[in-house]
């Protein structure tokens, strides 16, 4: 490739200048108004914040047995991190410094990629740090890899690359956390490449501070018989938008996307997912749920594209939404685009309140109405979390999620 890092940055910067922030006139951004970002952070919202020296609280998942990579305000903190020996991990900043040619592929900006926008271009142009993880062939990492991004406000552009070699297995936990009152923006792009027969379980925990905006993108490309599972939980941030783009490139690849939104106050949470079935015999499963309280607004758009040759595709998508308050709002759009007859595709959406029959049943068993509501809300959301294989993370998220909902009184009792 004749592309250099410099030329990529320039192309991306030009694209960003031309496109700017998407507006609600763009079909993909119809329900998410990003003008809040510039209102909050000014015209120069994209400018990376200076490395503030403020004290950063420990926001890591407690009692998690994992290798840790700590990023503070978008910069790798080598001292606080603990890395495994069996795989290669470099920070992007280091890679750019030492071997810029290797960073080219990771940073490359593709204008024609699905759900591409000015936000991604800005990330390509400005990302300075992130984790570059390379798992060689035949390695099964003994502990999860925990990537913690903490920030204290301001703008950060992060780019993470994960490449998993043949027959290798990895569990990655990406955790975005903050506990401050500053306005800020996290713009994160994570690119994952799964080689033959490899497997990756990816946790994406978005628990940003209340005034932080979060723009994320997860790009996955899967080779033969590989398996990818995403557990995306959206709890924090005032405005969060995540695009998940998954390409199933070779036969036998399997992907599973699980998502849970728990929103309250004026939070706005938006996930756009797109799964491209480009090869035969691939399987995709998608399961998104949202619990919306207060004046929160949830958006879900799931698109599944089955290409011409992708026969024997098996795809199912479901999206269920629970509105707890009179002012919560949901916009959902499950899309299918199929260019082939030998496929099995289904999708379903439900929106509603708690089932009256179920509430009644619990009441007949002597459970108070309030408690019955809590139990059902908990059960509704926990169905997604139950798919997590890492129980430490699951318990942590359960506590964090239900702490947000005012009605849950006996959380520990329910967890027991």
């Amino acid at each position: 490739m004749s592309l250099t890092l410099k030329s990529i940055r320039e192309t991306a910067a030009r694209a960003f200048e031309a496109q700017g922030l998407p507006t609600t006139r763009d079909e993909d951004w119809k329900y998410t108004d990003l003008s809040r970002i510039s209102a909050l952070l000014g015209d120069q919202w994209w400018q990376v914040a200076e490395n503030n020296e403020g004290e950063i609280a420990d926001l890591s998942v407690p009692e998690l047995d994992a290798y840790t990579l700590l990023f503070v305000n978008g910069h790798f903190d080598a001292e606080a991190s603990e890395l495994p020996d069996s795989i290669t991990i470099t920070s992007l900043a280091r890679l750019i410094q030492d071997e810029p040619e290797k960073a080219v592929e990771l940073i490359a900006y593709q204008a024609d990629a699905p759900l591409s926008s000015g936000v991604v271009a800005a990330n390509s142009a400005l990302a300075t740090d992130g984790a570059c993880i390379c798992v060689p062939n035949h390695v099964k990492l003994d502990k999860p890899l925990y990537i913690l991004h903490v920030n204290s406000g301001g703008t950060t552009h992060l780019r993470t690359g994960i490449s998993v070699g043949k027959h290798s297995e990895i569990q990655v936990i990406e955790h975005f956390a903050g506990d401050h009152d500053e306005a800020g923006l996290s713009n994160s792009v994570t690119a994952i490449r799964l080689d033959e027969n490899s497997s990756c379980e990816h946790y994406r925990l978005q628990m940003e501070a209340a005034k932080q905006c979060h723009l994320g993108r997860v790009e996955v490309s899967q080779q033969r018989d590989s398996s990818y599972t995403l557990h995306a939980t959206e709890l924090g941030s005032m405005l969060s938008r995540v695009d998940v783009v998954n390409r199933l490139q070779e036969p036998g690849a399997r992907t599973e996307l699980n998502g849970l939104f728990v929103a309250s106050g004026r939070q706005h949470i938006d996930h756009h997912t797109r799964i491209d079935h480009n090869a035969p015999h691939c399987v995709s499963r998608e399961n998104y749920r949202s619990v919306l309280d207060g004046r929160s607004h949830g958006v879900f758009n799931g698109k599944i594209v089955v290409g011409k040759g992708a026969i024997k595709t098996d795809s199912a998508q479901s999206n269920a939404n629970l509105l707890l308050s009179a002012h919560a709002e949901i916009d959902t759009k499950p899309e299918l685009e199929i260019f082939n007859d030998d496929v099995k595709c289904a999708h379903g959406v439900t929106i509603g309140q708690l089932d009256k029959n179920q509430l009644f049943y619990l009441k007949t068993r002597g459970i108070s109405g309030e408690e019955a509501k809590q139990m059902l809300t908990f059960a509704f959301a926990d169905e997604i979390l139950a798919k997590m294989s890492n129980q430490t993370v699951r318990r942590y998220i359960e506590r964090a999620a239900f702490a947000k909902l005012p009605n849950i009184t006996d959380l520990e009792g329910m967890l027991a």
Binding site: N321, P334, L336, C345, G348, V349, T350, G352, Q353
Partner: protein, 484 residues
């Protein structure tokens, strides 16, 4: 069995030529192609329209000039030159207007006979009042007297403008405003004819009202305008069916249908659309860009759209329901078939505004050959729609590996008491189902027909009797043995 049946490819069956393809040779009074204010004045003058309607048309036209043609649907076609379309054509024999069937041009009657819908027979046997539209002007209306007895008005809209101007003026353009969209604006400016129906308070229309649309003169766009008003507590079932002669030039058809439903009233609107779909290379065929909308203004109003779409090169329409009145109900049942190079982007919009409004959407898409089909729907539950309920089901059946089926359902909910369910499946005809039928001695072709009919049954059940038979036949003809 000693006979071994040669395996037949689906293509053999789906390539069936259009059966209703012929052009009736009739003198037409046609305007030269082109569109400007002069053309609109000409149309208006030809129809002896009052001043207000001309102004209304001109306003629509001026608005249309400021609009740009929309390109968001999932269909592709060469750009349309709106200046090369002729905006008025009427059969010459209309000049003094036939009073009864005897006065109708025998050639016209012959045309209908070829299509298997002889007017006389229908009048005599089926008891259906037919307001047959031959190109842009209605030429035969039956059962007028019978309808008049109960106070139902069923006439061409141009006649309604003359005879019931206050009704037309009160309702025209209130459901689909002139500036609603590009094609609705164009239609408002140049519409030549269509049907007008008014059902008075508490009247149950004694028969099914039916209009057969025909597109006949070469190169004429058809701009029908239909306005149906169901006053309090009334009921009407309206049938619309179409076939067209075969030819090579693409034709634009941009109709507007407006339904107004007041308290406790109900309208059932059924369509069978079988316009010329173009040949197997996608040459020719009708562009069917239609705006259909029902406004449930009254409490407990009900509207039901049923459509069977098998024709047209491009179908682009979304019969919609605005559920304004409390407890009003909207229904949408659709079967769309695309084969050869047909494209369809169709679906519905359910706008819930009133309390306890309910809507049901059942959409069945069948795609064969190189057909591309999209379901695009919107369910919007406004904040005021306490206790709203929606059920949506859209299924696609794929036949052949070069076709496509797409779904784009938009769901927007702003009220937590709303309950909505949406489900969609896409699959092909199961090999096991086919095998089972064949093992029972049913031929492959019949088995496919059975399965497709079963697939569409939910929708066909909603059709009035006369149409259900026609629809079944249409599916069989269109799909003969479409499986390999």
């Amino acid at each position: 069995m000693s006979e071994v049946k040669q395996e037949r490819k689906p293509e053999e069956f789906t390539n069936r030529e259009y059966e209703a393809g012929f052009v009736t040779d009739i003198e037409t009074d046609t305007l030269p192609p082109g569109l400007d204010e002069g053309v609109i004045r000409h149309i208006s003058a030809k129809k002896n329209e009052p001043e207000w309607l001309l102004n209304w048309r001109l306003e629509a036209f001026r608005h249309w000039q400021t609009m740009t043609e929309p390109h968001w649907p999932n269909v592709s076609y060469p750009p349309i030159d709106y200046q090369s379309v002729s905006y008025y054509s009427a059969p010459k024999s209309q000049a003094d207007g036939p009073k009864s069937l005897d006065e109708v041009d025998p050639k016209l009657l012959e045309t209908y006979a070829k299509l298997g819908i002889p007017l006389r027979e229908q009048e005599f046997l089926a008891g259906v009042a037919v307001d047959a539209v031959f190109d842009s002007v209605s030429v035969a209306t039956t059962f007028k007297g019978k309808l008049k007895d109960v106070g139902v008005i069923f006439c061409p809209i141009s006649e309604a403008v003359r005879d019931y101007p206050e009704l037309v003026q009160q309702y025209l353009g209130t459901v689909v405003p002139t500036g609603d969209n590009f094609y609705a604006a164009l239609n408002s400016a140049v519409f030549t004819d269509g049907s007008f129906v008014y059902i008075p308070k508490g009247v149950r229309c004694p028969m099914e009202l039916s209009t057969y649309f025909r597109i006949n003169a070469l190169n004429t766009g058809q701009f029908e305008r239909t306005l149906i008003i169901a006053d309090e507590g009334s009921y009407v079932s309206y049938l619309e069916g179409c076939t067209a002669p075969q030819r090579d030039e693409n034709q634009l058809h941009a109709a507007v249908v407006e339904l107004v439903i007041l308290d406790d009233a109900q309208i059932k609107y059924s369509t069978v659309q079988n316009w010329y779909p173009g040949d197997e290379n996608g040459l020719g065929g009708i562009y069917n860009f239609v705006t259909k909308r029902a406004d449930c203004r009254g409490k407990r109003a009900k509207v039901s759209w049923t459509q069977v779409e098998t024709g047209s090169a491009i179908t682009w329409k979304y019969p919609s329901c605005v559920l304004r009145g409390d407890d009003s109900v909207g229904e949408f049942y659709s079967v769309a078939l695309t084969k050869m190079c047909q494209q369809a982007d169709t679906g519905t919009k359910m706008i819930h505004i009133g309390k306890n409004t309910k809507s049901t959407i059942v959409s069945k898409g069948i795609s064969a050959g190189r057909g591309q089909q999209s379901y695009r729907g919107l369910v919007r539950i406004a904040k005021s729609a306490e206790g709203a309920r929606n059920f949506t089901q859209c299924d696609s059946l794929l036949i052949g590996d070069t076709c496509g089926a797409h779904t784009f359902p938009y769901v927007e909910v702003k009220n937590p008491t709303a309950t909505m369910e949406h489900e969609a499946t896409t699959s092909r005809i199961g090999e096991d189902q086919l095998f089972y039928c064949q093992s029972r001695g049913i031929s492959e072709e019949d088995a496919v027909n059975m399965i497709v009919n079963g697939f569409c049954k939910d929708v066909f059940n909603e059709l009035p009797m006369e149409f259900a038979v026609e629809a079944n036949r249409l599916m069989e003809v269109s799909l003969e043995g479409a499986v390999g």
